[in-house]
Protein backbone atom coordinates (compact mmCIF):
# COMPACT_ATOMS: atom_id res chain seq x y z
CA UNK A 1 0.00 0.00 0.00
CA UNK A 2 2.74 2.34 0.93
CA UNK A 3 4.20 1.54 -2.46
CA UNK A 4 1.11 2.81 -4.22
CA UNK A 5 0.95 5.84 -2.01
CA UNK A 6 4.50 6.65 -2.94
CA UNK A 7 3.66 6.15 -6.57
CA UNK A 8 0.86 8.65 -6.25
CA UNK A 9 3.00 11.23 -4.54
CA UNK A 10 5.72 10.81 -7.09
CA UNK A 11 3.12 11.13 -9.81
CA UNK A 12 1.92 14.40 -8.38
CA UNK A 13 5.44 15.64 -8.13
CA UNK A 14 6.38 14.79 -11.70
CA UNK A 15 2.98 15.85 -12.91
CA UNK A 16 3.62 19.33 -11.64
CA UNK A 17 6.22 19.70 -14.39
CA UNK A 18 3.61 18.71 -16.93
CA UNK A 19 1.21 21.20 -15.38
CA UNK A 20 3.73 23.93 -15.68
CA UNK A 21 4.22 23.38 -19.38
CA UNK A 22 0.52 22.76 -19.91
CA UNK A 23 -0.33 26.11 -18.38
CA UNK A 24 1.70 27.90 -21.01
CA UNK A 25 -0.09 25.91 -23.65
CA UNK A 26 -3.51 26.76 -22.30
CA UNK A 27 -2.72 30.44 -22.02
CA UNK A 28 -1.94 30.58 -25.71
CA UNK A 29 -5.01 28.60 -26.56
CA UNK A 30 -7.29 30.63 -24.40
CA UNK A 31 -6.29 33.91 -25.96
CA UNK A 32 -5.63 32.94 -29.55
CA UNK A 33 -7.21 29.53 -30.20
CA UNK A 34 -3.82 28.34 -31.36
CA UNK A 35 -3.00 24.73 -30.54
CA UNK A 36 0.68 25.04 -29.98
CA UNK A 37 2.68 21.97 -30.89
CA UNK A 38 5.86 23.90 -30.28
CA UNK A 39 5.28 24.29 -26.56
CA UNK A 40 7.99 21.78 -25.74
CA UNK A 41 10.42 23.63 -27.98
CA UNK A 42 9.65 26.93 -26.29
CA UNK A 43 10.57 25.24 -23.05
CA UNK A 44 13.76 23.94 -24.60
CA UNK A 45 14.81 27.28 -26.00
CA UNK A 46 14.22 28.93 -22.63
CA UNK A 47 16.40 26.34 -20.98
CA UNK A 48 19.18 26.76 -23.52
CA UNK A 49 19.20 30.51 -23.34
CA UNK A 50 19.43 30.48 -19.59
CA UNK A 51 22.16 27.87 -19.84
CA UNK A 52 24.10 29.96 -22.30
CA UNK A 53 23.90 33.04 -20.13
CA UNK A 54 24.84 31.39 -16.87
CA UNK A 55 27.43 28.94 -18.12
CA UNK A 56 28.82 30.34 -21.32
CA UNK A 57 28.65 34.00 -20.40
CA UNK A 58 29.15 33.44 -16.70
CA UNK A 59 26.41 35.81 -15.62
CA UNK A 60 24.97 35.55 -12.14
CA UNK A 61 21.86 33.43 -12.16
CA UNK A 62 19.42 36.20 -11.38
CA UNK A 63 20.69 38.33 -14.24
CA UNK A 64 20.58 35.50 -16.69
CA UNK A 65 17.13 34.51 -15.46
CA UNK A 66 15.79 37.96 -16.18
CA UNK A 67 17.58 38.08 -19.51
CA UNK A 68 16.08 34.73 -20.41
CA UNK A 69 12.64 36.09 -19.73
CA UNK A 70 13.44 39.10 -21.84
CA UNK A 71 14.64 36.85 -24.63
CA UNK A 72 11.45 34.79 -24.43
CA UNK A 73 9.45 37.93 -24.86
CA UNK A 74 11.40 38.89 -27.93
CA UNK A 75 11.13 35.40 -29.35
CA UNK A 76 7.42 35.16 -28.65
CA UNK A 77 6.76 38.50 -30.23
CA UNK A 78 8.70 37.52 -33.30
CA UNK A 79 6.99 34.17 -33.58
CA UNK A 80 3.60 35.71 -33.16
CA UNK A 81 4.22 38.47 -35.65
CA UNK A 82 5.97 36.53 -38.34
CA UNK A 83 4.42 33.12 -38.15
CA UNK A 84 1.07 33.13 -36.46
CA UNK A 85 -0.44 36.44 -37.32
CA UNK A 86 -0.61 35.72 -41.04
CA UNK A 87 -2.56 32.60 -40.20
CA UNK A 88 -5.33 34.30 -38.32
CA UNK A 89 -8.60 32.80 -39.40
CA UNK A 90 -7.10 29.74 -41.08
CA UNK A 91 -8.43 26.29 -40.22
CA UNK A 92 -7.14 24.49 -37.19
CA UNK A 93 -4.99 22.03 -39.10
CA UNK A 94 -3.03 24.84 -40.70
CA UNK A 95 -2.35 26.35 -37.34
CA UNK A 96 -1.33 23.00 -35.93
CA UNK A 97 1.01 22.42 -38.83
CA UNK A 98 2.54 25.85 -38.58
CA UNK A 99 3.39 25.23 -34.97
CA UNK A 100 4.85 21.88 -35.95
CA UNK A 101 6.95 23.74 -38.48
CA UNK A 102 7.90 26.18 -35.78
CA UNK A 103 8.99 23.37 -33.52
CA UNK A 104 11.29 22.05 -36.25
CA UNK A 105 12.76 25.48 -36.70
CA UNK A 106 13.37 26.00 -33.01
CA UNK A 107 14.97 22.59 -32.69
CA UNK A 108 17.20 23.27 -35.61
CA UNK A 109 18.07 26.67 -34.18
CA UNK A 110 19.17 25.10 -30.93
CA UNK A 111 21.26 22.51 -32.76
CA UNK A 112 22.94 25.15 -34.82
CA UNK A 113 23.83 27.34 -31.90
CA UNK A 114 24.57 24.80 -29.21
CA UNK A 115 25.19 21.60 -31.12
CA UNK A 116 23.75 18.27 -30.24
CA UNK A 117 25.76 17.56 -27.13
CA UNK A 118 24.11 17.27 -23.79
CA UNK A 119 24.57 20.42 -21.77
CA UNK A 120 24.42 20.58 -18.04
CA UNK A 121 22.78 23.23 -16.00
CA UNK A 122 24.44 24.77 -13.00
CA UNK A 123 22.70 23.67 -9.84
CA UNK A 124 20.55 26.62 -8.93
CA UNK A 125 18.29 24.89 -6.52
CA UNK A 126 19.46 22.90 -3.52
CA UNK A 127 19.99 19.26 -4.38
CA UNK A 128 19.27 17.69 -1.03
CA UNK A 129 15.94 15.87 -1.22
CA UNK A 130 13.51 15.98 1.64
CA UNK A 131 11.14 13.29 2.73
CA UNK A 132 7.42 13.15 2.21
CA UNK A 133 5.66 10.07 3.50
CA UNK A 134 8.81 8.09 3.13
CA UNK A 135 9.49 9.33 -0.35
CA UNK A 136 12.43 11.58 -0.97
CA UNK A 137 11.53 14.52 -3.19
CA UNK A 138 13.97 16.75 -4.97
CA UNK A 139 13.57 20.48 -4.35
CA UNK A 140 13.29 21.02 -8.10
CA UNK A 141 9.92 19.38 -8.06
CA UNK A 142 8.76 21.44 -5.16
CA UNK A 143 9.69 24.51 -7.11
CA UNK A 144 7.73 23.23 -10.09
CA UNK A 145 4.77 22.40 -7.92
CA UNK A 146 4.76 25.75 -6.20
CA UNK A 147 5.23 27.59 -9.42
CA UNK A 148 2.43 25.87 -11.24
CA UNK A 149 0.10 26.43 -8.31
CA UNK A 150 1.04 30.08 -8.28
CA UNK A 151 0.66 30.52 -12.02
CA UNK A 152 -2.61 28.70 -11.96
CA UNK A 153 -3.93 30.99 -9.26
CA UNK A 154 -2.73 34.16 -10.86
CA UNK A 155 -3.95 33.37 -14.32
CA UNK A 156 -7.30 32.05 -13.20
CA UNK A 157 -7.99 35.35 -11.55
CA UNK A 158 -6.53 37.19 -14.50
CA UNK A 159 -8.81 35.54 -17.02
CA UNK A 160 -11.86 35.75 -14.84
CA UNK A 161 -11.68 39.25 -13.47
CA UNK A 162 -9.26 41.49 -15.29
CA UNK A 163 -10.40 43.43 -18.30
CA UNK A 164 -7.38 42.30 -20.19
CA UNK A 165 -8.05 38.68 -19.40
CA UNK A 166 -11.65 38.93 -20.50
CA UNK A 167 -10.55 40.75 -23.61
CA UNK A 168 -8.19 37.88 -24.35
CA UNK A 169 -10.99 35.36 -24.14
CA UNK A 170 -13.15 37.56 -26.30
CA UNK A 171 -10.38 37.81 -28.86
CA UNK A 172 -10.05 34.06 -28.96
CA UNK A 173 -13.73 33.72 -29.68
CA UNK A 174 -14.11 36.31 -32.40
CA UNK A 175 -11.22 38.48 -33.42
CA UNK A 176 -13.10 40.91 -35.56
CA UNK A 177 -15.80 41.46 -33.00
CA UNK A 178 -13.14 42.00 -30.37
CA UNK A 179 -11.55 44.55 -32.62
CA UNK A 180 -14.82 46.36 -32.94
CA UNK A 181 -14.89 46.67 -29.14
CA UNK A 182 -11.67 48.62 -29.31
CA UNK A 183 -9.57 45.69 -28.20
CA UNK A 184 -6.19 45.80 -29.88
CA UNK A 185 -6.01 42.21 -30.98
CA UNK A 186 -2.45 42.42 -32.18
CA UNK A 187 -1.20 43.36 -28.78
CA UNK A 188 -3.45 40.75 -27.21
CA UNK A 189 -1.89 38.05 -29.36
CA UNK A 190 1.61 39.25 -28.76
CA UNK A 191 0.93 39.49 -25.07
CA UNK A 192 -0.47 36.00 -24.75
CA UNK A 193 2.50 34.52 -26.59
CA UNK A 194 4.83 36.47 -24.37
CA UNK A 195 3.15 35.23 -21.25
CA UNK A 196 3.24 31.69 -22.50
CA UNK A 197 6.87 31.93 -23.54
CA UNK A 198 7.84 33.33 -20.19
CA UNK A 199 6.00 30.57 -18.39
CA UNK A 200 7.67 28.04 -20.67
CA UNK A 201 11.14 29.38 -20.11
CA UNK A 202 10.67 29.16 -16.40
CA UNK A 203 9.53 25.62 -16.97
CA UNK A 204 12.63 25.03 -19.06
CA UNK A 205 14.93 26.33 -16.41
CA UNK A 206 13.35 24.06 -13.85
CA UNK A 207 13.48 21.16 -16.23
CA UNK A 208 17.11 21.82 -17.05
CA UNK A 209 17.83 21.39 -13.39
CA UNK A 210 16.45 17.90 -13.44
CA UNK A 211 18.59 16.24 -16.03
CA UNK A 212 20.54 18.57 -18.23
CA UNK A 213 19.37 19.72 -21.60
CA UNK A 214 19.74 18.53 -25.14
CA UNK A 215 18.03 19.11 -28.42
CA UNK A 216 15.48 16.40 -27.68
CA UNK A 217 14.08 18.20 -24.67
CA UNK A 218 11.16 19.44 -26.69
CA UNK A 219 9.63 15.98 -26.59
CA UNK A 220 8.21 16.99 -23.29
CA UNK A 221 5.67 18.92 -25.31
CA UNK A 222 4.13 15.62 -26.34
CA UNK A 223 3.53 14.78 -22.72
CA UNK A 224 1.52 17.90 -22.34
CA UNK A 225 -1.19 16.88 -24.76
CA UNK A 226 -2.77 14.24 -22.62
CA UNK A 227 -2.67 16.69 -19.76
CA UNK A 228 -4.33 19.61 -21.51
CA UNK A 229 -6.82 17.55 -23.43
CA UNK A 230 -7.77 15.68 -20.33
CA UNK A 231 -8.31 18.90 -18.46
CA UNK A 232 -9.97 20.65 -21.37
CA UNK A 233 -8.03 22.75 -23.81
CA UNK A 234 -9.16 26.11 -22.54
CA UNK A 235 -9.19 25.45 -18.86
CA UNK A 236 -6.39 26.55 -16.60
CA UNK A 237 -7.74 24.36 -13.87
CA UNK A 238 -7.79 21.57 -16.41
CA UNK A 239 -4.14 22.12 -17.27
CA UNK A 240 -3.06 22.26 -13.67
CA UNK A 241 -5.03 19.22 -12.63
CA UNK A 242 -4.57 17.44 -15.94
CA UNK A 243 -0.82 17.53 -15.52
CA UNK A 244 -1.04 16.12 -12.04
CA UNK A 245 -3.54 13.48 -13.07
CA UNK A 246 -1.42 12.33 -15.95
CA UNK A 247 1.59 12.22 -13.69
CA UNK A 248 -0.24 10.06 -11.19
CA UNK A 249 -1.82 7.86 -13.83
CA UNK A 250 1.52 7.19 -15.42
CA UNK A 251 2.95 6.13 -12.13
CA UNK A 252 0.00 3.98 -11.18
CA UNK A 253 -0.10 2.37 -14.58
CA UNK A 254 3.56 1.61 -14.42
CA UNK A 255 3.00 -0.10 -11.09
CA UNK A 256 -0.33 -1.68 -11.81
CA UNK A 257 0.45 -2.89 -15.31
CA UNK A 258 3.50 -4.59 -13.87
CA UNK A 259 1.71 -6.10 -10.95
CA UNK A 260 -1.45 -7.14 -12.71
CA UNK A 261 -0.65 -7.64 -16.35
CA UNK A 262 3.06 -8.11 -16.41
CA UNK A 263 3.31 -5.50 -19.13
CA UNK A 264 6.36 -3.35 -19.22
CA UNK A 265 6.84 0.12 -20.61
CA UNK A 266 3.18 0.77 -20.35
CA UNK A 267 3.66 4.13 -18.76
CA UNK A 268 4.04 6.09 -21.96
CA UNK A 269 1.05 4.59 -23.66
CA UNK A 270 -1.13 4.48 -20.61
CA UNK A 271 -1.79 8.17 -20.37
CA UNK A 272 -2.97 8.28 -23.95
CA UNK A 273 -5.09 5.19 -23.59
CA UNK A 274 -6.83 6.59 -20.56
CA UNK A 275 -7.18 9.88 -22.32
CA UNK A 276 -9.16 8.34 -25.16
CA UNK A 277 -11.46 6.59 -22.76
CA UNK A 278 -12.11 9.76 -20.81
CA UNK A 279 -12.67 11.77 -23.95
CA UNK A 280 -15.30 9.34 -25.12
CA UNK A 281 -17.24 10.11 -21.99
CA UNK A 282 -16.40 13.79 -21.78
CA UNK A 283 -15.57 15.01 -25.28
CA UNK A 284 -14.32 18.37 -24.08
CA UNK A 285 -12.17 17.05 -21.30
CA UNK A 286 -12.89 17.44 -17.63
CA UNK A 287 -13.24 21.21 -17.52
CA UNK A 288 -13.18 22.31 -21.13
CA UNK A 289 -15.85 24.61 -22.45
CA UNK A 290 -18.32 22.81 -24.56
CA UNK A 291 -18.55 24.35 -27.96
CA UNK A 292 -21.94 25.99 -28.26
CA UNK A 293 -23.47 24.38 -31.26
CA UNK A 294 -26.76 25.88 -32.33
CA UNK A 295 -28.20 25.85 -35.76
Amino acid sequence: MEYYLQLIINGLVVGSIYSLVALGFVIIFKATKVVNFAQGELVMVGAYVCFALTVQFQLPFLASFLLTLAFSIVLATAVERLILRPLIGEPIISVVMVTIGLSSMLKSFVQMVWGTQIQVFPAILPQEPFMLLGLPIAPVYVAAFGLSALLFGVFSLFFKFSSLGIAMRATAFDQQAAQSMGIGIKSIFALSWCIAAVVSSIGGIILGNINGINAQLGHLGLKVFPAVILGGLDSLLGAALGGLIIGVLENICEGAAKDLLGLGGFKEVASFLILVVILMVKPYGLFGTKEIERV
Binding site: I93, V98, S104, K107, S108, F109, V269, F272, L279
Partner: protein, 349 residues
Protein backbone atom coordinates in the same frame (compact mmCIF):
# COMPACT_ATOMS: atom_id res chain seq x y z
CA UNK B 1 -11.08 30.34 -92.21
CA UNK B 2 -12.08 27.79 -89.69
CA UNK B 3 -13.45 28.51 -86.28
CA UNK B 4 -12.04 26.95 -83.20
CA UNK B 5 -14.10 26.68 -80.14
CA UNK B 6 -12.85 28.81 -77.35
CA UNK B 7 -13.41 27.17 -74.01
CA UNK B 8 -14.91 23.79 -73.43
CA UNK B 9 -18.44 22.75 -74.08
CA UNK B 10 -19.98 19.54 -72.95
CA UNK B 11 -22.94 17.81 -74.41
CA UNK B 12 -23.49 15.24 -71.71
CA UNK B 13 -23.22 15.36 -67.96
CA UNK B 14 -20.98 12.35 -68.07
CA UNK B 15 -18.53 14.14 -70.33
CA UNK B 16 -18.42 17.10 -68.02
CA UNK B 17 -17.82 14.73 -65.19
CA UNK B 18 -14.92 13.00 -66.91
CA UNK B 19 -11.49 13.08 -65.37
CA UNK B 20 -9.69 14.29 -68.41
CA UNK B 21 -11.97 16.50 -70.28
CA UNK B 22 -10.14 17.47 -73.38
CA UNK B 23 -8.16 15.53 -75.91
CA UNK B 24 -5.15 17.58 -74.98
CA UNK B 25 -5.40 16.45 -71.39
CA UNK B 26 -5.64 12.84 -72.47
CA UNK B 27 -2.60 13.32 -74.63
CA UNK B 28 -0.67 14.81 -71.73
CA UNK B 29 -1.60 11.92 -69.52
CA UNK B 30 -0.50 9.46 -72.17
CA UNK B 31 2.83 11.18 -72.57
CA UNK B 32 3.29 11.33 -68.84
CA UNK B 33 2.61 7.62 -68.44
CA UNK B 34 4.93 6.76 -71.29
CA UNK B 35 7.64 8.85 -69.70
CA UNK B 36 7.10 7.12 -66.39
CA UNK B 37 7.33 3.72 -68.02
CA UNK B 38 10.54 4.55 -69.78
CA UNK B 39 12.11 6.24 -66.80
CA UNK B 40 13.78 3.31 -65.03
CA UNK B 41 15.71 2.61 -68.21
CA UNK B 42 16.99 6.15 -68.39
CA UNK B 43 18.07 7.07 -64.88
CA UNK B 44 20.23 5.42 -62.25
CA UNK B 45 18.94 3.26 -59.47
CA UNK B 46 19.21 6.03 -56.91
CA UNK B 47 16.75 8.13 -58.86
CA UNK B 48 14.47 5.15 -59.34
CA UNK B 49 14.55 4.40 -55.64
CA UNK B 50 13.62 7.97 -54.87
CA UNK B 51 10.75 7.62 -57.30
CA UNK B 52 9.69 4.48 -55.50
CA UNK B 53 9.72 6.26 -52.20
CA UNK B 54 7.74 9.12 -53.68
CA UNK B 55 5.13 6.81 -55.15
CA UNK B 56 4.66 5.03 -51.86
CA UNK B 57 4.42 8.38 -50.14
CA UNK B 58 1.82 9.44 -52.71
CA UNK B 59 -0.48 6.64 -51.61
CA UNK B 60 0.00 7.59 -47.99
CA UNK B 61 -0.59 11.25 -48.67
CA UNK B 62 -3.59 10.74 -50.91
CA UNK B 63 -5.17 8.49 -48.34
CA UNK B 64 -4.56 10.95 -45.54
CA UNK B 65 -5.98 13.66 -47.72
CA UNK B 66 -9.14 11.65 -48.07
CA UNK B 67 -9.54 11.57 -44.32
CA UNK B 68 -8.17 14.95 -43.33
CA UNK B 69 -8.52 17.11 -46.40
CA UNK B 70 -11.84 15.83 -47.60
CA UNK B 71 -13.58 14.59 -44.51
CA UNK B 72 -11.98 17.06 -42.14
CA UNK B 73 -10.89 14.50 -39.56
CA UNK B 74 -7.34 15.39 -38.67
CA UNK B 75 -5.18 12.37 -38.03
CA UNK B 76 -1.85 12.32 -36.30
CA UNK B 77 -1.70 8.55 -36.48
CA UNK B 78 -1.49 7.92 -40.19
CA UNK B 79 2.07 6.67 -39.96
CA UNK B 80 0.94 3.95 -37.60
CA UNK B 81 -1.84 2.90 -39.96
CA UNK B 82 0.76 2.58 -42.68
CA UNK B 83 2.67 0.46 -40.20
CA UNK B 84 -0.30 -1.81 -39.57
CA UNK B 85 -0.52 -2.44 -43.29
CA UNK B 86 3.20 -3.01 -43.52
CA UNK B 87 3.18 -5.56 -40.75
CA UNK B 88 -0.05 -7.12 -41.93
CA UNK B 89 1.22 -7.60 -45.45
CA UNK B 90 4.58 -8.81 -44.24
CA UNK B 91 3.09 -11.37 -41.91
CA UNK B 92 0.70 -12.64 -44.56
CA UNK B 93 3.45 -12.75 -47.10
CA UNK B 94 5.74 -14.63 -44.77
CA UNK B 95 2.91 -17.05 -44.10
CA UNK B 96 2.91 -17.86 -47.78
CA UNK B 97 0.16 -15.66 -49.12
CA UNK B 98 0.70 -14.45 -52.67
CA UNK B 99 1.78 -10.86 -52.93
CA UNK B 100 -1.50 -9.40 -54.12
CA UNK B 101 -3.41 -11.17 -51.39
CA UNK B 102 -0.91 -10.04 -48.79
CA UNK B 103 -1.13 -6.47 -49.98
CA UNK B 104 -4.92 -6.43 -49.90
CA UNK B 105 -4.92 -8.33 -46.63
CA UNK B 106 -2.58 -5.80 -45.08
CA UNK B 107 -4.87 -3.06 -46.30
CA UNK B 108 -7.87 -4.81 -44.86
CA UNK B 109 -6.25 -5.24 -41.47
CA UNK B 110 -5.24 -1.63 -41.50
CA UNK B 111 -8.76 -0.63 -42.46
CA UNK B 112 -10.16 -2.50 -39.50
CA UNK B 113 -7.68 -1.00 -37.11
CA UNK B 114 -8.32 2.43 -38.59
CA UNK B 115 -12.01 2.05 -38.08
CA UNK B 116 -11.52 1.04 -34.47
CA UNK B 117 -9.48 4.16 -33.89
CA UNK B 118 -12.06 6.12 -35.84
CA UNK B 119 -14.71 5.33 -33.28
CA UNK B 120 -13.83 8.33 -31.10
CA UNK B 121 -14.75 10.54 -34.07
CA UNK B 122 -18.31 9.77 -33.07
CA UNK B 123 -17.94 12.20 -30.26
CA UNK B 124 -14.71 14.10 -30.71
CA UNK B 125 -14.05 17.00 -32.99
CA UNK B 126 -11.13 19.04 -34.18
CA UNK B 127 -8.08 19.00 -32.06
CA UNK B 128 -9.59 16.62 -29.53
CA UNK B 129 -9.91 14.05 -32.27
CA UNK B 130 -6.42 14.79 -33.50
CA UNK B 131 -5.05 14.02 -30.07
CA UNK B 132 -6.99 10.80 -29.90
CA UNK B 133 -5.38 9.76 -33.18
CA UNK B 134 -2.07 10.65 -31.62
CA UNK B 135 -3.03 8.11 -28.99
CA UNK B 136 -3.63 5.61 -31.80
CA UNK B 137 -0.14 6.30 -33.05
CA UNK B 138 1.47 5.61 -29.70
CA UNK B 139 -0.68 2.59 -28.91
CA UNK B 140 0.05 1.00 -32.26
CA UNK B 141 3.76 1.62 -31.91
CA UNK B 142 3.53 -0.14 -28.59
CA UNK B 143 1.81 -3.08 -30.22
CA UNK B 144 4.38 -3.31 -33.01
CA UNK B 145 7.07 -3.56 -30.43
CA UNK B 146 5.39 -5.89 -28.01
CA UNK B 147 3.47 -8.34 -30.13
CA UNK B 148 6.85 -9.83 -30.89
CA UNK B 149 5.50 -13.24 -31.83
CA UNK B 150 3.76 -11.57 -34.77
CA UNK B 151 5.87 -8.57 -35.54
CA UNK B 152 9.28 -9.75 -34.53
CA UNK B 153 9.20 -7.03 -31.90
CA UNK B 154 12.39 -5.13 -31.53
CA UNK B 155 14.27 -7.29 -34.00
CA UNK B 156 11.96 -6.42 -36.80
CA UNK B 157 10.54 -8.57 -39.51
CA UNK B 158 12.22 -9.60 -42.75
CA UNK B 159 10.11 -9.83 -45.89
CA UNK B 160 10.89 -11.21 -49.31
CA UNK B 161 10.54 -9.04 -52.36
CA UNK B 162 7.18 -9.37 -54.07
CA UNK B 163 6.59 -12.10 -56.59
CA UNK B 164 3.70 -12.30 -58.98
CA UNK B 165 3.26 -15.46 -61.02
CA UNK B 166 6.83 -16.39 -60.39
CA UNK B 167 8.24 -13.07 -61.48
CA UNK B 168 10.28 -11.48 -58.72
CA UNK B 169 10.26 -7.72 -58.40
CA UNK B 170 13.63 -7.61 -56.79
CA UNK B 171 15.35 -4.63 -58.30
CA UNK B 172 14.45 -1.01 -57.98
CA UNK B 173 13.50 -0.79 -61.62
CA UNK B 174 11.30 -3.87 -61.53
CA UNK B 175 9.47 -2.99 -58.39
CA UNK B 176 9.02 0.50 -59.73
CA UNK B 177 6.47 -0.73 -62.26
CA UNK B 178 4.62 -2.60 -59.58
CA UNK B 179 4.54 0.38 -57.25
CA UNK B 180 3.56 2.67 -60.10
CA UNK B 181 0.62 0.47 -60.99
CA UNK B 182 -0.62 0.19 -57.42
CA UNK B 183 -0.18 3.91 -56.85
CA UNK B 184 -2.09 4.74 -60.00
CA UNK B 185 -4.94 2.51 -58.89
CA UNK B 186 -5.02 4.08 -55.45
CA UNK B 187 -5.01 7.60 -56.83
CA UNK B 188 -7.75 6.68 -59.25
CA UNK B 189 -9.79 5.21 -56.43
CA UNK B 190 -9.54 8.37 -54.35
CA UNK B 191 -10.32 10.53 -57.36
CA UNK B 192 -13.40 8.46 -58.06
CA UNK B 193 -14.56 8.68 -54.50
CA UNK B 194 -14.05 12.41 -54.52
CA UNK B 195 -16.45 12.95 -57.40
CA UNK B 196 -19.19 10.66 -56.23
CA UNK B 197 -21.66 10.31 -53.45
CA UNK B 198 -19.19 9.36 -50.78
CA UNK B 199 -16.69 12.05 -51.52
CA UNK B 200 -19.39 14.68 -51.45
CA UNK B 201 -20.65 13.34 -48.16
CA UNK B 202 -17.13 13.51 -46.74
CA UNK B 203 -16.77 17.13 -47.74
CA UNK B 204 -20.23 17.85 -46.40
CA UNK B 205 -19.18 16.45 -43.04
CA UNK B 206 -16.07 18.58 -43.12
CA UNK B 207 -17.89 21.77 -44.03
CA UNK B 208 -21.00 21.57 -41.92
CA UNK B 209 -21.69 18.37 -40.14
CA UNK B 210 -25.04 19.43 -38.75
CA UNK B 211 -26.56 20.08 -42.11
CA UNK B 212 -24.87 17.02 -43.57
CA UNK B 213 -26.78 14.99 -41.07
CA UNK B 214 -30.02 16.65 -42.06
CA UNK B 215 -29.60 15.84 -45.73
CA UNK B 216 -29.32 12.21 -44.80
CA UNK B 217 -25.62 11.60 -44.27
CA UNK B 218 -25.07 9.19 -41.43
CA UNK B 219 -22.18 11.03 -39.83
CA UNK B 220 -20.75 8.17 -37.88
CA UNK B 221 -21.01 5.66 -40.69
CA UNK B 222 -19.36 8.00 -43.14
CA UNK B 223 -16.63 9.06 -40.79
CA UNK B 224 -15.92 5.41 -40.19
CA UNK B 225 -15.90 4.78 -43.91
CA UNK B 226 -13.46 7.63 -44.34
CA UNK B 227 -11.26 6.19 -41.62
CA UNK B 228 -11.61 2.73 -43.09
CA UNK B 229 -10.88 3.64 -46.68
CA UNK B 230 -8.10 5.97 -45.71
CA UNK B 231 -6.39 3.37 -43.57
CA UNK B 232 -6.97 0.71 -46.19
CA UNK B 233 -4.98 2.74 -48.65
CA UNK B 234 -2.45 3.59 -45.98
CA UNK B 235 -2.17 -0.13 -45.37
CA UNK B 236 -1.53 -0.74 -49.05
CA UNK B 237 1.21 1.86 -48.92
CA UNK B 238 2.59 0.04 -45.91
CA UNK B 239 2.46 -3.30 -47.72
CA UNK B 240 4.41 -1.86 -50.61
CA UNK B 241 6.86 -0.33 -48.21
CA UNK B 242 7.52 -3.55 -46.35
CA UNK B 243 7.98 -5.50 -49.56
CA UNK B 244 10.19 -2.83 -50.96
CA UNK B 245 12.49 -2.41 -47.96
CA UNK B 246 12.30 -6.11 -47.15
CA UNK B 247 12.80 -5.40 -43.47
CA UNK B 248 10.49 -3.55 -41.13
CA UNK B 249 10.99 -2.39 -37.59
CA UNK B 250 8.66 -0.41 -35.34
CA UNK B 251 10.81 2.68 -35.64
CA UNK B 252 9.89 3.04 -39.28
CA UNK B 253 6.32 3.98 -38.43
CA UNK B 254 6.83 6.58 -35.79
CA UNK B 255 5.09 9.84 -35.22
CA UNK B 256 7.58 11.54 -37.51
CA UNK B 257 6.09 9.64 -40.42
CA UNK B 258 2.61 10.81 -39.49
CA UNK B 259 3.80 14.37 -39.39
CA UNK B 260 5.50 14.16 -42.72
CA UNK B 261 2.28 12.87 -44.29
CA UNK B 262 0.46 15.85 -42.83
CA UNK B 263 3.15 18.11 -44.20
CA UNK B 264 2.65 16.54 -47.61
CA UNK B 265 -1.04 17.29 -47.75
CA UNK B 266 -0.56 20.78 -46.40
CA UNK B 267 2.14 21.66 -48.87
CA UNK B 268 0.29 19.93 -51.66
CA UNK B 269 -3.06 21.44 -50.86
CA UNK B 270 -5.75 20.16 -48.55
CA UNK B 271 -8.46 18.18 -50.19
CA UNK B 272 -6.73 18.03 -53.55
CA UNK B 273 -5.65 14.72 -55.00
CA UNK B 274 -3.13 16.20 -57.39
CA UNK B 275 -1.87 18.33 -54.53
CA UNK B 276 -1.14 15.25 -52.45
CA UNK B 277 0.99 13.93 -55.27
CA UNK B 278 2.98 17.13 -55.45
CA UNK B 279 3.24 17.27 -51.69
CA UNK B 280 4.52 13.72 -51.46
CA UNK B 281 7.13 14.42 -54.07
CA UNK B 282 8.14 17.65 -52.41
CA UNK B 283 8.53 16.29 -48.92
CA UNK B 284 10.36 13.19 -50.09
CA UNK B 285 12.71 15.17 -52.27
CA UNK B 286 13.41 17.94 -49.78
CA UNK B 287 15.89 16.05 -47.56
CA UNK B 288 17.51 14.49 -50.60
CA UNK B 289 18.04 17.83 -52.20
CA UNK B 290 19.41 19.24 -48.99
CA UNK B 291 21.73 16.30 -48.59
CA UNK B 292 22.97 16.69 -52.12
CA UNK B 293 23.50 20.36 -51.48
CA UNK B 294 25.40 19.66 -48.30
CA UNK B 295 27.58 17.04 -49.97
CA UNK B 296 28.42 19.37 -52.79
CA UNK B 297 29.17 22.14 -50.32
CA UNK B 298 31.22 19.71 -48.29
CA UNK B 299 33.63 19.56 -51.21
CA UNK B 300 33.99 23.33 -51.37
CA UNK B 301 33.60 24.47 -47.81
CA UNK B 302 33.59 21.68 -45.25
CA UNK B 303 33.20 24.10 -42.36
CA UNK B 304 30.10 25.55 -43.87
CA UNK B 305 28.42 22.20 -44.30
CA UNK B 306 28.85 21.47 -40.61
CA UNK B 307 26.74 24.50 -39.88
CA UNK B 308 24.22 23.69 -42.56
CA UNK B 309 23.53 20.13 -41.50
CA UNK B 310 21.47 21.07 -38.47
CA UNK B 311 19.56 23.49 -40.63
CA UNK B 312 17.91 20.68 -42.51
CA UNK B 313 15.12 20.22 -40.05
CA UNK B 314 14.79 23.93 -39.83
CA UNK B 315 14.37 24.13 -43.57
CA UNK B 316 11.61 21.56 -43.39
CA UNK B 317 9.90 23.64 -40.74
CA UNK B 318 10.48 26.81 -42.66
CA UNK B 319 9.00 25.32 -45.82
CA UNK B 320 5.93 24.32 -43.91
CA UNK B 321 5.57 27.75 -42.39
CA UNK B 322 6.17 29.57 -45.66
CA UNK B 323 3.69 27.45 -47.52
CA UNK B 324 1.07 27.96 -44.88
CA UNK B 325 1.59 31.67 -44.90
CA UNK B 326 2.04 32.37 -48.57
CA UNK B 327 0.36 29.50 -50.34
CA UNK B 328 -2.19 28.10 -47.92
CA UNK B 329 -3.90 26.22 -50.67
CA UNK B 330 -0.66 24.53 -51.50
CA UNK B 331 0.98 23.45 -54.70
CA UNK B 332 -2.39 22.39 -56.05
CA UNK B 333 -3.31 26.04 -56.51
CA UNK B 334 -0.09 26.79 -58.31
CA UNK B 335 -0.90 23.88 -60.58
CA UNK B 336 -4.39 25.18 -61.26
CA UNK B 337 -3.04 28.59 -62.12
CA UNK B 338 -0.48 27.14 -64.48
CA UNK B 339 -3.09 24.97 -66.09
CA UNK B 340 -5.49 27.85 -66.50
CA UNK B 341 -2.74 29.81 -68.13
CA UNK B 342 -1.92 27.08 -70.62
CA UNK B 343 -5.50 26.30 -71.37
CA UNK B 344 -6.01 29.73 -72.81
CA UNK B 345 -2.58 29.94 -74.32
CA UNK B 346 -1.84 31.69 -76.63
CA UNK B 347 -4.85 33.83 -75.90
CA UNK B 348 -4.01 34.31 -72.27
CA UNK B 349 -4.97 37.61 -70.91
Amino acid sequence: MSMHKCGLFYTTYAAEDGLFRSRFQKLCLGLFLAAMLALPQLVDSYAVSILNLILIAVIGAVSLNLLTGMCGQMSLGHGAFVGVGAYGAAILSNAGAPFVAALLGGGAISAMVGMVFGIPSLRLKGIYLAISTLAAQLILEYVFLHASSLTGGANGLPVDPPQILGFAFDTDARIFYLILAVTALCVLAVTNVSRTRHGRAFVAIRDYHQSAENVGVNLFAYKLQAFGLSSFLAGVAGGLWSHYTMYITPEQFSMGLSISYLAMIIIGGMGSVIGSIFGAAFITLLPEMLNLLISSLGGIAPDLSAVIVPMKEGVFGLMLVLFLIFEPEGLARKWRLTKAYWKLYPFAY
